[in-house]
């Protein structure tokens, strides 16, 4: 059962879905299948129930943050230099949006095969980005999707109980995002020193005291 077979089969069974095989260059050779969020639940249910696939066990669910990158490209532009039109190379910088990714590792306990890896992408890295929850298909995704919601800020639509799981309820940010900044806080350290004290001093000037 190769990934190509699974892809063509899913495409036949779930009309309108867009699948893409993501190659993995590492020696592990674990290639994955990118699915579109709109059909995710149908695809997952098919993969769980199909007689010969039977991916009844969703082992690992996790998020990955891919922040936007700055891309610089050289563009040739015509410009007036000293009154003469000349072709000049210019560097243009653009910023990609970036995205969050959710990865599901599927195995089959019945057929004893796997893993097949499913990935879903969000469109951007906004504070609240939405993806469909697969907890209705595999209950094992329950706590793990809550964890991704907690640490990455992906809102899973259709999750039965989407609350923070590791951080406390009043916590605001999403610590696993790559651009997360630790709070300017030094009180956790019983005897603050060096780096921490320095940060605390900066904190004081910002606050306008001393």
């Amino acid at each position: 059962m190769t990934l190509e077979n699974i892809k063509s089969e899913v495409e036949a069974k779930v009309p309108g879905c867009a699948l893409e095989i993501v190659a993995n260059p590492s020696p592990s050779g674990q290639h994955s299948l990118r699915i579109d969020p709109a059909h995710a639940v149908a695809i997952a249910a098919f993969m769980r129930d199909a007689e010969h696939l039977r991916f009844d066990y969703c082992s690992n669910v996790t998020g990955i943050d891919w922040p936007g990158k700055e891309i610089s490209e050289k563009v040739k532009v015509k410009k007036l230099v000293d009154g003469v039109e000349q072709e000049v190379e210019e560097v243009r910088k653009s910023q990609t949006v970036g995205h969050l990714e959710v990865v599901y590792h599927l195995y089959s306990m019945e057929k004893k095969h796997g893993p097949v890896i499913l990935r879903m992408r969000t469109e951007d890295r906004a504070e609240k980005v939405h993806l469909p929850s697969l907890t209705s298909v595999w209950q094992s995704a329950d706590f793990q999707e809550r964890e991704i919601f907690d640490l990455y800020g992906v809102v899973f639509d259709g999750h039965p109980d989407l609350r923070r799981i590791l951080m406390w309820d009043g916590f605001k940010d999403h610590p696993m995002r790559k651009d997360y900044v630790e709070p300017d806080d030094y009180e956790y350290e019983p005897t603050a020193h060096d780096e921490v004290l320095e940060r605390a001093r900066q904190h004081r000037t910002v606050m306008g005291a001393q």
Binding site: S28, N60, F143, I165
Partner: protein, 385 residues
Amino acid sequence: MIAATEPIRILPKSRADGGEGQFLEVSMGPQHPSTHGVFRMDVVLDGERIVKLKPVFGYLHRNHEKIAEHETYLGSMPYTDRLDYFCSLTNNWAYALAVEKLAGIQVPERAEYIRIITAELTRFQNHAALIGFLTQDMGASGTPLMYAFRERETILDLFESLTGARMMCNYMRFGGCRVDLPAGWLDHAKKFVATLPRFLDEFERLLASNEILMARTQGVGVLSKELAVNAGVTGPVLRASGVNYDVRKVDKYGIYDRFAFKIPMGEHGDTYDRYMVRLLEMRESLNILNQALKDIPEGPIVDPKTRIRGFKPKPGEAYGRIEAPKGELGFYLVSDGTSNPYRYRVRPPSLMNLTVLEQLCIGRNVADVVVILGSIDIVMGEVDR
């Protein structure tokens, strides 16, 4: 004095029995010996019966995964010890396996044998201690636990003479192990393993057909096959429900395909089966240990081609998993070609096994929650990460 036949009813008749009683919300934990760590359950009670139960955790959360992103690959190895601090050697192995998959590293034969010996010793002491704690939860104050700890002590001594630490071993390396077996270690281990069947017989005789154990565990917290698979439960808890799934047999990682051992399975999926499966698994671990200690070859313990310093795997990703004593322990690594992992994810078995806790407890008494939780075998270092 009240006659023993007269039932005392202080609480109003419960709703389930057609009364007007109110639900009572109780927070079990986080500071309670029966919760096996800093763990809390929000329980809604109808009289003595559980109506709703929500596990609350995160008290030990230190964002291990984020810290690992700022460490080199090797730098995270000591940190994996702190996940499931009862089984640091299997944690090491799971992480080493994931990195070996990511970078395509081969492990020499002697190192594979050492890994299996240490992993099975770890499994043995984990299960023995777990059964001790489980009976402790049922009120058998100390005796089975002390019996288990007596053997665990010797196993930890063996670990100490091998790795230098009793619990935080930090022993596996990518492509092998850190140090070779010290002189005389194998003879020590052989002699000790030969005494373990006697301990198991004694342990079994101590508890088997004990009236309290039977009454408290049989038929309590029944986990169905379908729910166990769907909820991603792994390890002895899964096999107690009658699902034949052991990563040692399915993936044949390391050199597990060379050893003859059986996978014990339960029939009912209740707490008693979970206890029994562990007891039988310990015997199978001894089986593997005897074969491994006999066959271990001489040779290098680490692949000489592996770079320790400046280790930078090519971009890509890998998911490596092993059968840890508590279930499937997986590490998912994404490399971007630098010396630190871009993404480092632990799939902790204890956390996933907790998913079914509410379904197991609903309809049972408060006292049963303690026993059911004990039989699931959680370690908070791993649940919270």
